[in-house]
């Protein structure tokens, strides 16, 4: 497949080395007066993994959505493999140029099956009068086998865990550029908008293997991530955006971690580190006994006042279910929770009671479970605390807006405009809003699932600080996360899961990124 591409290219007379895969020039796009992209130059070479970095709201997704034909740019030129492409692109047109996307929100239809989602692109653009579902299903199974994944083509996507949804979106993008390559003879450009927050470490490694593989065949990859370590590991060069302008282009080789962070933020920052305190002597806030449900079997867990407990493990270890089971968001089949002098039956728990009893849950699924994109920020933020704004029979709307603005300021939401729809914030800023939504209600027990997915380096420090500060005030926190650096930054204690059980516990000086990663893998081999 690849050699024939080279042949077609040479026939058209372009020399392979100096024609970049993708070039944007003078790209600008504004939303109601605010410039999301301002005269941006963006070059991606052939066979290159190109990082696209920047703080939340710096314009990364906007650039990508212009390529996908989702936004009309105000201005700009686009060249793909040396060919001038008129802007704006029509949605779906990108398939013609051998592009494939994984969008920040994955872009899957939750109510459709795995198979329907997988072939959505082909269905959307080709006139096909007969779909041979059996053959499609077989092809899909072959594809999944090639990616060493075990998917049921008939499963409903919305019912899959986030990790699998992310993998599906990635597989689909790879398939799109493969199809494009076979049909149009271009090596293809894969565009990944923050694919890794949903993936645990070994998923990220699988993804990187796949990336290296297609790059070695001449394809190019655009890679968006807030994780500087990942960027340094996989990219060859990186373009850094700041406030919609290009802040610089960095060659990864020879650059240091801090070089990236400084370019992204525009100044040096101190990374947040916590004083780990042994809280085992302080008062117990929550005591889970015998929790059983989903993959979790008979879990005992104690959280003390002011303690941050991390839960982690490999894919399938089940740790990410614990917050939902405790909150009554997913049905537990057994277990009790002692909280604030009450003994609660977990199978009878439901979100209404959880909230009444002083528990808060920040779900990992931002779009589906955490906030409503088509409603204003102020409404989203005030939803759990509407009672505060009661005035007689009604609500004090002005107070709601002021409250939302105050929170936005505290959590560095940019732009801090509570009247805008949640959708119009960048992904990371949405996450800050949703964290603030729950932190404000002053719960006794805070349950977090991937709290900083997609939050930029600078803001991540702010979130860490907020969680720690609340913990120091007596809040007990349980944080399920596959981001070991984050766990190391905020947790007093980390529990590593395998097959639904806690297999090891790290405390004190053992709570480091490397130790956590090591324990995750050790647990896997240990359990066979």
């Amino acid at each position: 497949m690849v050699p024939s591409n080279v042949a077609t290219e040479t026939k058209t007379g372009t020399s392979k080395a100096d024609v970049p895969a993708l070039v944007f020039r003078h790209l600008s796009k504004s939303f109601g007066g605010a410039k999301a992209l301002d005269d941006v130059e963006f070059h991606v070479d052939r066979g290159e993994v190109h990082g696209l970095l920047g703080q939340n709201g710096s314009g990364k997704s906007t650039l990508i959505k212009v390529l996908a034909g989702y936004h009309d740019p105000d201005n700009g030129e686009l060249e793909i493999y040396g060919r001038r492409i008129p802007l704006p692109l029509v949605p779906g047109e990108y398939l013609k140029y051998g592009l494939g996307f994984v969008h920040q929100n994955l872009g899957l239809v939750p109510s459709l099956t795995v198979l329907e989602n997988l072939i959505a692109g082909a269905l959307a653009t080709k006139a096909r009068w007969y779909i041979d579902w059996r053959a499609e299903a077989e092809r899909a199974l072959e594809t999944f086998a090639r990616f060493r994944l075990d998917f049921d083509p008939d499963a409903i996507v919305g019912a899959l865990p986030q990790v699998q949804q992310a993998l599906l979106a990635i597989v689909r993008a790879f398939e799109e550029i493969r199809a494009g390559a076979a049909e149009h003879g271009t090596p293809g450009i894969l565009i990944l908008d923050e694919p890794t927050p949903f993936l645990p470490r070994e998923g990220v490694e699988r993804l990187f293997e796949l990336i290296r593989d297609i790059v070695s065949h001449g394809a190019s990859v655009v890679f968006v991530s807030h994780d500087v370590d990942e960027v340094m590991e996989i990219t060859d060069r990186a373009t850094v955006l700041r406030d919609g302008k290009v802040a610089g282009v960095i060659g990864t080789k020879g650059a240091e971690r801090n070089d990236f962070i400084e370019k992204i933020i525009g100044r040096r920052i101190d990374l947040f580190t916590t004083e780990r305190v042994d809280r085992s002597a302080s008062e117990v806030t929550a005591h889970v006994a015998g929790l059983t449900g989903g993959p979790i079997a008979n879990l005992d867990l104690v959280v003390h006042r002011g303690e941050v407990v991390g839960l982690t493990g490999l894919i399938g270890s089940g740790y990410e279910h614990v917050p939902y089971l405790m909150f009554g968001a997913r049905p537990a089949s057994g277990g009790t929770l002692a909280l604030n002098g009450l003994l609660l039956s977990l199978p009878a728990m439901n979100p209404y009671w959880a909230v009444q009893l002083g528990i808060a849950l920040l779900p990992g699924d931002r779009q589906g479970a955490s906030g409503v994109g088509t409603l204003p920020i102020e409404d989203n933020v005030t939803l759990p605390v509407l009672d505060w704004f009661r005035r007689g029979l009604g609500l004090e709307r002005r107070g709601m807006r002021a409250g939302a603005a105050a929170l936005g300021q505290a959590y560095e939401v940019r732009p801090n405009r509570p009247d805008l729809n949640l959708d119009s914030l960048s992904g990371g800023n949405q996450q800050k809003v949703l964290l603030a939504k729950w932190m404000q209600s002053n719960p006794d027990l805070l349950l977090l699932d991937e709290p900083t997915q997609g939050v930029d380096v600078g803001a991540r420090q702010a979130v860490f600080k907020a969680v720690r500060a609340a913990a120091d005030q007596g809040l007990a926190v349980i944080c399920a996360s596959s981001d070991h650096e984050q766990l190391a930054a905020i947790c007093d204690r980390v529990l590593v899961f395998a097959r639904g059980r806690v297999v090891s516990e790290l405390t004190g000086n053992n709570v480091t990124k490397d130790r956590i990663t090591e324990q995750c893998y050790a647990s896997a081999t240990l359990q066979g």
């Binding site: 609660l344 009878a348 439901n350 409503v372 939803l383 709307r397 405009r417």
Partner: protein
């Protein structure tokens, strides 16, 4: 008297919505030991000047918002154009009495359409409202004329029947998780049958004159009272949806059911409450309908379904675009009715009503989408 009825029904509807959402314990409390804690008192966070968009009525404000403003109030422009066109075409059209008559005869549908906003906002359809309206009208007439009940009592019975139908809808939709379109289509058709059966297809006339007077008298601004009732209902709904906590919750249940559930909202109760309230308001529309015509006939209710939905969806394109909203619905429906009236005055046959309601809805929604550059509609 009817004002009191309206006030009562709105209060009851609001109570149902609120009580279901907030009071009482769920059947299965998770507490199996210890004593419940009282709610913690938390004070309002300090207010801070928020970073706002451009100031009101400055040039920058206009530049940034003219499209939205145009869309919000486009219905008035359309109304004005319509008035102008028909005023030129027909002299009988441009008189105060003609307009108030048009409003008068549309009022019942307006109330029904306003009630429909509740379940639409919380994410359910209710196709049975028109049948409930006819049922309620027939019950008032039958109890008052055939059974000799005082009209007030007959009205209360009709409202209770409306609430009952809402509860039946809610039971199938929420408890058995059947799609609302299916349930309400079935229940609506069933009610139709029941009405024709118990009335033996007889029209019942000579309903209490008090009720008729309460509708057509013109106490204020020479506008019939029943038009003012629609304004009262619209105001109450607007206040409920915009300024009360249960109203906010309704919106979240409609837009993001899982988000609402995880925020501790009892989604099922919210949905049930809005379905019951909607049916009660449809029954109120039925009461108004008997008063307006002085009689009730077991007509096929289906003819009222489209206007009611047209009102709700047309309303969602203006005043607060993108949301079902009472003021948009109210004005939208009076606009459509005025158009139909104008067309019939210039001598077009009566099927023109369907053309105008159906075509008008599609055209109006399309125009508003053009202004917004074809963004996805999210209600």
């Amino acid at each position: 008297m009817i004002v009191i009825v309206i006030a009562v029904i709105l209060l009851v509807a609001a109570l149902i919505l609120t009580v279901l959402q907030e009071r009482g314990t769920t059947g299965s409390s998770p507490i199996i030991g210890g004593a419940p804690r009282g709610m913690r008192a938390i004070s309002l966070p300090p207010s801070v000047r928020s970073a706002q968009g451009p100031r009101f009525w400055t040039e920058a404000y206009w530049a940034a918002n003219w499209k939205t403003l145009l869309q919000r109030f486009s219905i008035f422009i359309a109304y004005a154009l319509l008035l102008l066109a028909f005023a030129l075409a027909s002299p009988a059209f441009f008189t105060w009495s003609n307009h108030t008559n048009v409003w008068f005869s549309t009022a019942a549908i307006v109330v029904m359409s306003l009630g429909l906003i509740l379940p639409l906002t919380s994410g359910d359809f209710d196709l049975s409202i028109a049948s409930v309206m006819v049922l309620s009208a027939m019950m008032v007439a039958a109890l008052n004329v055939w059974q000799g009940w005082p009209v007030g009592l007959a009205i209360l019975a009709a409202l209770a029947a409306g609430a009952l139908v809402g509860a039946v809808n809610a039971f199938f939709i929420v408890y058995f998780r059947i799609h609302s379109l299916i349930v309400t289509l079935g229940v609506g058709t069933l009610i139709n049958g029941v009405v024709i059966w118990f009335s033996k297809s007889n029209t019942i006339s000579n309903v209490s004159f008090d009720l008729a007077a309460a509708m057509y008298e013109r106490v204020f601004l020479k506008v019939p009272n029943n038009v003012w009732y629609t304004v009262i209902v619209a105001f109450a709904l607007w206040y409920f949806l915009e300024y009360t906590a249960p109203g906010r919750r309704l919106l979240f249940v409609g837009r993001g059911r899982e988000v609402a559930r995880l925020a501790g909202i009892r989604v099922d109760r919210v949905r049930a409450g809005s379905l019951i309230a909607c049916s009660m308001i449809a029954a109120l529309a039925g009461v108004m309908y008997v008063g307006m015509t002085g009689s009730a006939e077991p007509i096929n209710a289906r003819a009222f379904v489209l206007p009611a939905f047209a009102g709700a969806f047309l309303g969602a394109t203006c005043i607060y675009p993108g949301r079902f909203n009472p003021w948009g619905t109210l004005i939208g429906l009076y606009f459509l009715a005025t158009g139909v009236n104008g067309l019939s005055l210039v001598g077009l046959p009566s099927f023109i009503q369907d053309l105008f309601y159906g075509g008008g809805l599609v055209i109006a929604v399309t125009l508003s989408q053009i202004v917004l550059k074809r963004q996805q509609q999210n209600f």
